[in-house]
């Protein structure tokens, strides 16, 4: 095996075999971030279940009790949690990936491994967190069913893995673009929190898109998270179905951004250590 280290590499050249060879490291990084997340806290891993409950509870107090935004007939806690878990999955992958180059200088400056390993590990740890959040959500689901609330799983619930995939790929795509861009444009780092906040408000997490006028709702379809959030709610409750074409704009955007992100990141990672 001969490795060639060259000044210029074609932008489309991707070494997938090399990334595959480091899959073990992807898992280890994911384990590391999960294992060290709540170390030395009193509740320890219980936090994984408490966290989604707490954030949904905040929404419940503000939007359910005080402002009284309608959820279209779905129990409030269930409504907020189902939106939150997809949003958290997205933000986890997006935010961590966007600083994966500048935030891991101590590693990337001292040893070589494919720079895509870090973003991939965020997907793995994000997916595990999503699974745990899902468990918390199912607990509430069971509770409401016992209370006799009129909600039921739809057959479409089996499409949920695809919704997760769409969310993760969108997070990865946007994250890679931002990571590559921040190598040169440091300003992006300061704009990012605002962008994320805006994005969260544009996603129907604490409000139902039914409250938005149909004309405006079409513009919301461009948000890659619109489809997963609204469709997941429908598939676990049977309330407020969305038309299939609502997925298209978001999926298209995800595909474009992800492709751009992969190649841009691949190009930017070659020399970023000299710049950051």
């Amino acid at each position: 095996m001969i490795i060639t280290i060259e000044a210029k590499a074609p932008w489309w050249k991707f070494d997938l075999a090399e990334i595959w060879a480091y899959r073990h490291l992807v898992m280890l990084f994911a384990t590391r971030s999960l294992a060290t997340m709540y170390k030395q806290s009193v509740l320890g891993p219980v936090w994984f279940l408490v966290q989604p409950f707490l954030s949904a509870f905040v929404f419940y107090v503000v939007f359910g009790l005080l402002i009284r935004l309608s959820t279209g007939g779905m129990p409030h806690m269930l409504f907020y949690m189902s939106g939150m878990i997809f949003w958290h999955l997205f933000v986890n992958v997006f935010q961590q990936t966007s600083v994966s180059l500048s935030g891991n200088m101590h590693l990337h400056g001292k040893v070589f491994f494919p720079r895509l390993v870090m973003p991939l590990s965020y997907i793995v740890s994000g997916a595990v967190l999503f699974g745990l959040n899902l468990v918390a959500l199912l607990c509430f689901y069971g509770y409401y069913r016992l209370q006799g609330v009129a909600i039921a799983f739809q057959p479409q619930v089996f499409l949920a893995p695809l919704l997760v995939l769409q969310t993760v790929l969108a997070g990865l795509g946007f994250g890679l673009c931002v990571a590559a861009a921040t190598v040169r444009f440091r300003d992006l780092k300061y704009a990012l929190p605002t962008i994320i906040q805006f994005w969260m408000f544009m996603t129907p997490i604490f409000y139902s898109s039914m409250r938005v006028s149909p004309a405006m709702r079409r513009y919301m379809w461009i948000n890659p998270l619109y489809g997963p959030v609204e469709f997941f709610r429908f598939s676990i409750s049977g309330i407020n179905p969305i038309p299939p074409e609502a997925f298209l704009p978001g999926m298209l955007l995800t595909a474009v951004v992800l492709t751009t992100g992969l190649f841009w990141f691949n190009h930017a990672q070659r020399n970023f250590i000299d710049v950051v």
Binding site: K110, F112, R184
Partner: protein, 443 residues
């Protein structure tokens, strides 16, 4: 690349842009990329050009060498000479600006001990994580786990988070993991100076056993000439981004130490050096009697001068040289001209590698003459020149140092007439060139 070659470095250069790298601002950046997109040279016509040129710095300049499989080679040189940049490129942390490198097999790097150690994780977990970061497979780590623990001597604390370790234990565990890598090429930066004396000795032992191992190629960077000599048979001396000398460790480290001494000697009596002109030529000693030279002496400079030849109206630089051979193959001559009182920059470099230069074979003894263009003249002042005689091995492309003398000779320029000028005007410029002036316009 043949079977016994482990690393081949071909004309590698690396440019850094010092200071802020962002091109001025967003609009300039956009203009830059648009120009590039439509195929124009983006650097012309823009402010970008000036800013980038001023700030660039070449950490490596056309470096070439070859390392055989199983060889242990040290890279030595002062801080900023380019060795660390070389290591970074070899270990793929960054890429070269020009040139390429071929490496046979897997590369392991030890630029730092404990890369990726997480304080909250236990010793055991960190062994696995650190091992994987360095490129070991899970099975490989499992196989070497006991040896690593044994070597580190932290066995009792294996399940304690490493943040509770003493700094010595931490470093010992980290070195233990790194030193059990078994790559085809091992790249080691100065990491042996860790731990107590006993552990240091153990580290050196361990490194020795890796270095003498016939299939692992080792590249080692250190400022300790003692460790270099004990670990590596061959050394490459970097200076200002170029290879100054390449050969047997004993010889190279001797020359290096000698130079260090000379520098120390020169620095000691004149602490006000910064405001002083650069070191004047030791004119009282003729060039052939000078002893402060570096190189293998394959051919040597005997006498050198720069003078203005009135008959042909050109500046001529001539060098009398000698050697033990009847002819010299692959001779390269470099003359760097400095202006007195202008430290850090040189006026011009005469390099026989440019534009024709010297023939592939030159007689064993003789005189080399290089003529500067007719429309060029040095501005009045005092100048001194560094001389470097090299030989290039055609097969590998090595450029070995035959003889190098700093401030080998000096010359003085008075306001003698050139270009038909009666007197040369005094100028802060370093040179005069033939100029053609023109005015266009309407009354």
């Amino acid at each position: 690349m043949n079977a016994t070659t482990s690393i081949r470095v071909e004309d590698v250069s690396k440019r850094y842009e010092i200071g802020s790298v962002t091109r001025l601002n967003l609009s300039d950046e956009i203009v830059y990329h648009l120009r590039r997109l439509i195929g124009m040279n983006p650097d012309t016509l823009s402010k970008v050009d000036k800013v980038v040129r001023d700030r660039e710095f070449w950490a490596l300049k056309d470096v070439s060498f070859e390392i055989k499989q199983g060889e242990a080679v040290a890279l030595i040189g002062a801080n900023g000479a380019g060795k660390s940049t070389m290591l970074k490129i070899l270990s793929r942390i960054t890429t070269p600006t020009a040139g390429r490198i071929l490496v046979a097999g897997r590369v392991g790097t030890m630029l730092e001990v404990g890369t990726g150690f997480h304080p909250e994780m236990t010793g055991r977990e960190n062994i696995f994580l650190n091992g994987a970061i360095l490129g070991m497979s899970r099975r490989e780590i499992e196989r070497k786990f006991d040896a690593i623990v044994e070597f580190s001597g932290v066995g009792r604390f294996l399940d304690t988070p490493v943040k509770r370790y003493s700094s010595g234990m931490y470093v010992r565990l980290a070195f233990a993991v790194a030193s059990h890598l078994e790559p085809d090429v091992l790249i080691v930066d100065e990491v042996l100076s860790v731990g107590d004396a006993l552990f240091q000795a153990k580290c050196i032992e361990r490194m020795k056993s890796i270095a003498t191992n016939s299939h692992t190629t080792v590249i080692f960077v250190s400022h300790s000439m003692a460790s270099v000599r004990s670990l590596c048979a061959r050394s490459i001396w970097f200076e200002d981004g170029c290879i100054l000398m390449d050969g047997d460790s004993e010889e190279v480290t001797d020359a290096y130490l000698q130079k260090q001494e000379a520098l120390k000697g020169a620095r000691a009596p004149a602490p006000r050096l910064a405001s002083q002109p650069p070191p004047a030529v030791k004119s009282e000693i003729p060039l052939r009697a000078r002893t402060d030279r570096v190189g293998d002496g394959r051919w040597r400079a005997e006498n050198a001068a720069m003078r203005f030849d009135k008959a042909c109206g050109q500046w001529l630089c001539s060098l009398d040289y000698t050697s033990e051979q009847s002819e010299i193959v692959g001779a390269i001559l470099v003359v760097v001209v400095h202006r007195e009182g202008v430290p850090g920059k040189c006026v011009v470099v005469l390099d026989s590698r440019c534009m024709g230069g010297l023939p592939a074979r030159i007689p064993g003894k003789g005189t080399i003459q290089v003529a500067l263009p007719r429309d060029f003249a040095f501005a009045p002042g005092r100048y001194f020149c560094d001389l470097t005689c090299k030989t290039r091995v055609a097969r590998t492309g090595y450029e070995g140092f035959a003889d190098q003398v700093r401030s080998a000779f000096a010359f003085r320029v008075d306001d003698s007439p050139v270009f038909g000028w009666h007197r040369l005007p005094l100028t802060p410029g370093l040179m005069h060139v033939q100029q053609e002036w023109k005015v266009e316009g309407t009354p």
